[in-house]
């Protein structure tokens, strides 16, 4: 142990050598720190593969998923429903339980996590195969912050 009983007035000044070291922080938006492989961001859903079973909606702890009708996906196979999940990002806590219980594996999460908009309705959407919106993957686009 290097903790001394009486301490010193001088030793704290050795911290001054930190001044010549590089800072911890990264200069956003000049430097972009990509999220980790497993990062849990927005949802994507392959609407063709999804069977509308509603497991994702039932397991969601925040009641963020609502099943909405999609008559064009009415199929004959048992267990298949003409419904697809719609996620409300005002409620979602990005726990990924929905992804975990999806029996078809159609529901996934991508690493994108920035979405800036004035209209609150734009935070409720039906995930499809496209990455959620036009913000490029993990780039914090400052122009996007000021969209009309």
């Amino acid at each position: 142990m290097s903790v001394k009983k009486e301490g010193s007035y001088v030793s704290p000044f050795r911290a001054l050598k930190q001044l010549v070291k590089k800072p911890h922080t990264v200069q956003i938006p000049k430097v972009v720190k990509p999220p980790a492989e497993r990062y849990r961001g927005f949802h994507t859903n392959n609407l063709e593969v999804c069977i509308g079973c509603g497991n994702c909606s039932r397991v969601c702890p925040d009641n963020a998923i609502k099943m909405v009708p999609f008559p064009e996906y009415a199929r004959k196979e048992p267990g298949s429903m003409p419904l697809r999940p719609q996620v409300d990002y005002g409620r979602c806590c990005f726990c990924a339980l929905c992804v975990e219980v999806c029996p078809t594996g159609s529901l996934q999460m991508v690493r994108t996590f920035t979405h800036v908009d004035e209209k609150k309705d734009s935070f409720v959407f039906i995930p499809d195969s496209k990455v959620v919106h036009e913000t490029p993957d993990f780039v914090l686009d400052t122009k996007n912050l000021r969209r009309k």
Partner: protein, 370 residues
């Protein structure tokens, strides 16, 4: 006898000298506190009731919010209780990953703690360093769990996923870095005469008082009382790990801070033991959870506790055979530290130590309100 005029001061809820959404009304006579009343409740979210409306598997998504700087202990406490109730045995690798996360979480909470206490006595650099270094731990959490702060990872049955390839090496590298940094922290902070003069002898707590007030965790160990849930009621991989309970004697602000500094070193050592073991283990099998949507647990009750960075954090769970808890109750350390103990101990202290005592007890307001 002449009575001087006393005035009431409000500390919080918007005050840098308070640990969160929490408030204390102190009555001061000159510079000395003569009465204190804590005002909690700004952050009440009703977790216990919310849990009763949810499936067994949905708990961790909620209760990690009970203690913000140290969320993994909440998840694991609940998971341990549910596992005991359902009679689930977590695979060995799962237990080790759990302990790894808990110790990493403890390190990150202590880095916050160092900065918090130092900030309350005016040594702001420590706070900047603490938050900066904590981010490297969060980077590793992001790699392991996919999230930085609320990991939602320790489910009843085991941790969600196995470690990504090469994770153990990255953890070891970070531990080397933190060990080096701890030496610099020693110079800047723990051996700083200003800190020692301010902290030593301030608000001492005796072992008997700690036992009477149900003080737990590092605050209790700082009085010389050797209690530690990791030893007394082992969970995760702690029965297999080699460590001793560290204690101090004095029980004052200084002992409480130094206690955490010593445990910081111990956590680094524990993490190294865990990564050594993880490397030797076959990968893959970490979790056993039944189908979450149809998971029913036979009627009964169980208590699972963990040694969080703040003290004993326990969950009492009752099942009536349904798909979720019939009753869930949390036992947080901060209720006793932040309400009963704080109100009594702050009397007689100077105004400048009102915030210092709150930080030294490591009070977590979200845990008080729940």
């Amino acid at each position: 006898m002449s009575q001087t005029k006393t005035i009431d001061l409000f500390f919080g809820p918007q005050h840098p000298g308070i640990t969160g959404n929490f408030s204390v009304r102190v009555t001061v006579d000159g510079d000395t506190v003569v009465k204190a009343q804590v005002i909690p409740g700004f952050l009440h979210r009703g977790f216990e009731k919310l849990m009763e409306m949810r499936h067994w598997i949905q708990g961790p998504a909620l209760i990690c919010r009970i203690c913000v700087p140290d969320p993994d202990h909440s998840e694991t406490g609940y998971a341990t209780a549910v596992e005991r109730l359902a009679g689930i045995e977590v695979p060995e690798r799962g237990r080790y990953i759990r302990s790894l996360m808990l110790e990493m979480s403890r390190l990150s909470a202590y880095l916050f703690y160092f900065g918090g206490y130092a900030g309350s006595i005016g040594l702001y650099t420590v706070g900047q360093w603490g938050v900066g270094d904590r981010d490297y731990i969060l980077d590793l959490f992001e790699e392991l769990t996919g999230a930085r702060v609320y990991h939602i990872f320790n489910f009843p049955g085991g941790p969600r996923w196995d470690t990504p390839p090469g994770f153990e090496d990255k953890v070891d590298k970070l531990m080397d870095f933190l060990e080096k940094r701890l030496k610099e922290f020693d110079k800047l902070y723990f051996n700083n005469r200003v800190f020692i003069k301010r902290a030593r002898g301030t608000a001492p707590m005796t072992k008997a008082y700690a036992q009477k007030m149900e003080v737990t965790g590092p605050n209790a160990r700082a009085t010389g009382w050797a209690i530690d849930v990791r030893k007394d009621d082992p969970y995760a991989a702690y029965p297999d790990l080699d460590f001793d309970i560290i204690t101090q004697k004095e029980g004052d602000n200084y002992a409480r801070v130094i206690q955490r500094r010593m445990e910081f070193e111990q956590s680094i050592d524990l993490i190294r033991q865990i990564t050594r073991k993880l490397r030797k283990m076959p990968r893959g099998n970490v979790r056993v959870t039944p189908n979450p949507l149809h998971w029913k647990i036979p009627p009964g009750e169980a208590y699972g506790a963990v040694e969080s960075s703040k003290g004993e954090l326990g969950y009492y769970v009752v099942s009536d055979g349904g798909i979720g808890p019939y009753r869930m109750q949390a036992r947080g350390p901060s209720i006793s530290h932040g309400v009963q103990v704080y109100e009594e101990m702050v009397v007689g202290q100077r105004v400048a130590d009102v915030a210092a005592l709150m930080f030294s007890l490591d009070v977590c307001p979200p845990d008080i309100d729940r």
